[in-house]
């Protein structure tokens, strides 16, 4: 048993311990004050509400560790939901449709990586553009509404059960463990840390930084594609607004989990707890019946506060003065 725990501990390298305590406190609070909160059905709803964000947060963690950011995930999620709906409607069969959707969402990631590498522009601005373009794409393809026609067979991905868990939850856990281990143990993904903390050194060490970056954005977009397919399977339809502002929740979850926007720091375990924390906050909203207008304020506020806390602890640990250049010029090695 101890052996397993030791092995699992690599997943929580840079974790923000406060977030675990915070999540547990929130959970205890909710289960004490909300009747029937511990009902398995309720817990399932709470976790299913955030499963798409959770899956996207896994890719975002790696992107952020590499010193980048991917604002396009929400749009890619919505776009993929529409793509798979259209493909299934065209009757090409589920396996082929899933593969094609993965390829299409992956190519958006390739486009992101390609533009970031070739234009030497900050990932923020490149993915902001692709975010707008593909959100526009969702509106163009659906004419601003909803398209249906997903066959019932497809509902397994979003609604089916596997080993007693809802399939998306199972998928999220498997992906988290696999990506978490690869990130720490596999040579290829582990280099992300080096790229994020010092890309010049990484290049000198013979790492093909451009190729790594492209792969990282492809992974992030493909996971957004998976999230989109899950959504389409849950609703058996696709709406132009799927995944709107999801990027904000995803980035917030990753940052409060302990990842640093300056790159080189972060872990899947932290992101897991970040997602749990945000899901619990969301469930407080639902329990208290607060209007959804409040959500944006809270997620935006959490993001800013998390970054402030990180800066504060960082300045306590190190005496190195941040130069203006480190952040005013958009960062990066170009």
């Amino acid at each position: 048993m101890k052996h397993i725990w030791q092995r699992l501990s690599v997943l929580t390298k840079d974790i923000n311990k406060g977030i675990i305590i915070g999540s547990i406190l929130l959970f205890v609070f909710l289960s004490l004050f909300v009747s029937n909160y511990l009902n398995p059905y309720n817990l399932e709803v709470v976790s299913m509400n955030f499963i798409q964000e959770g899956i996207m947060a896994l890719g975002m963690t790696i992107v952020i560790i590499s010193g980048g950011i991917d604002l396009s995930v929400g749009s890619v999620m919505g776009f993929s939901a529409i793509v798979i709906t259209l493909l299934l409607k065209a009757g090409i069969g589920i396996p082929l449709a899933v593969i094609l959707t993965l390829v299409i969402s992956g190519s958006i990631g390739f486009l992101n990586g390609f533009l970031i590498n070739r234009l030497k522009a900050h990932p923020f601005i490149v993915t902001l553009s692709t975010m707008t373009i593909f959100r526009g794409g969702t509106y163009v393809l659906t004419e601003g509404g909803t398209i249906g026609g997903v066959p019932l067979d497809f509902s397994f991905l979003g609604q089916g059960s596997f080993l007693g868990l809802r399939f998306p939850i199972f998928l999220f856990l498997v992906l988290a463990v696999v990506i978490g281990f690869l990130l720490q143990k596999h040579k290829f993904l582990n280099r992300t840390y080096l790229i994020g903390s010092n890309s010049r050194a990484a290049r000198l060490a013979g790492i093909n930084v451009e190729k790594m970056k492209a792969s990282i954005y492809i992974l992030s977009s493909s996971l957004a594609g998976v999230a989109g397919m899950i959504t389409a399977s849950q609703y058996l339809s696709a709406n132009a607004g799927f995944g709107l502002t999801a990027e904000l929740k995803v980035i917030t979850a990753v940052i409060i989990g302990g990842a640093s926007l300056s790159g080189g720091k972060g872990c899947i375990g932290g992101t897991f707890w970040g997602v749990v924390f945000i899901a619990l906050i969301n469930s407080i909203f639902i329990q208290m019946g607060l209007p959804t207008f409040w959500e944006k304020i809270v997620y935006g506020g959490m993001l800013v506060i998390a970054v402030l806390i990180e800066k504060y602890t960082q300045s306590k640990r190190t005496s190195v003065k941040t130069r203006w250049e480190d952040f005013l010029l958009g960062g990066g090695d170009n």
Binding site: I69, L115, R118, L119, K120, A121, H122, F124, I125, V126, L128, S129, T130, M131, T132, I133, F134, R135, G136, G137, Y139, V140, E143, G144, T245, L248, I251, L261, S262, P291, F293, W294, E295, K296, I297, V298, Y299, G300, G301, L303, V304, V307, L308, K311, Y312, T322, R323, W324, E325, D326, F327, L328, L329, G330, G331
Partner: protein, 299 residues
């Protein structure tokens, strides 16, 4: 410049409506909201920063001003000042967090964008604020020789800001800060203070745009200024500003805004579904970055 001329000619030939006074006036009016915000964005970009919160800022300022006028006995000028004040305060908060804690402007203003838009929605629960008095509406709907006030004010502000940016030392320093902030500090420029002032200006201009919008359209609305940050950034970058800071001009930004407005007009005149506009807005920014990249390689 060339692109705009070509676009204008193509449009005039393809649509008889384009070159009518009414259409040109509506293009000018539509671009004024963007122009004012883009001026502030240009300055922030020159400094080496970026402000994603301007669109939300417009929404909150518009909602707050109109609520104060409609729901409280507050006189119109004071309500307007309060609206502008909130906009400047949002800008100050951005600038303060960025320069004091040295956080990337992207992330601060992304968070602020969500917070401010949320507050605007909470204040109105998603409804319009209507029932504004004539004394307020005259700002946006009044005309001089057939040209709406906001267009005139917007162009005047652009001219004044352009002059100040070129000739007034406190603002002129922004170019040095953007080009090399640490050297600028060594030369005695107070970088932190200029960053705060820059974001406050971006806030102030958002407030002005909100004022024009809510008085012209006779309402306050929490959805005002959606995607405005993107258009403002796009216009500034098309006009020659760089994300690396130190570059950008008001004249260039003006042309950038004009180009975006003409493209938008083309969509309307040619009956292309409105949904395509988002796609094109995003593509325009990418094209702008690509051209900037090519220009850089030429140098």
């Amino acid at each position: 410049m060339l692109i705009i001329a070509i676009f204008g000619i193509v449009l005039t030939i393809s649509s008889p409506v384009f070159f009518t006074f009414k259409n040109i006036r509506s293009v000018l009016m539509g671009m004024t909201y963007d122009l004012v915000v883009a001026l502030g964005m240009t300055f922030v970009l020159i400094l080496g920063g970026l402000d994603l919160s301007v669109g939300s800022n417009v929404a909150l300022s518009s909602v707050l001003t109109t609520i104060l006028i409609v729901d409280t006995p507050m006189p119109v000028p004071i309500a307007i000042l309060a609206g502008l004040g909130v906009s400047v305060f949002i800008g100050f908060t951005n600038g303060f967090l960025i320069s004091k804690f040295k956080i990337n402007p992207f992330i601060v203003t992304l968070g602020m964008m969500a917070i401010v838009r949320g507050v605007a929605r909470v204040l109105t629960s998603g409804y319009f604020v209507t029932g504004l008095p004539e004394s307020f509406l005259v700002i946006g709907q009044g005309e001089l020789w057939g040209i709406p006030f906001p267009v005139i004010i917007g162009i005047l502000i652009a001219l004044v800001f352009d002059y100040l940016l070129k000739h007034w030392a406190p603002l002129n320093r922004a170019v040095y800060v953007g080009a090399n902030p640490d050297n600028a500090e060594l030369f005695g420029i107070k970088v932190g203070r200029l960053v705060i002032v820059g974001f406050m200006l971006a806030g102030l201009f958002s407030g002005l745009s909100a004022l024009f919008m809510s008085s012209r359209l006779a309402m306050g609305y929490a959805q005002f200024g959606e995607m405005l940050e993107l258009r403002a950034i796009g216009a500034a970058v098309i006009g020659g500003a760089s994300f690396k800071g130190g570059k950008g001009s008001i004249w260039g930004t003006f042309l950038g805004v004009l180009l975006l407005a003409i493209v938008k007009n083309a969509f309307v005149l040619m009956d292309i579904p409105i949904y395509w506009q988002r796609v094109v807005n995003g593509a325009i920014i990418l094209i702008a970055i690509a051209t900037a990249m090519i220009n850089r390689q030429k140098d």
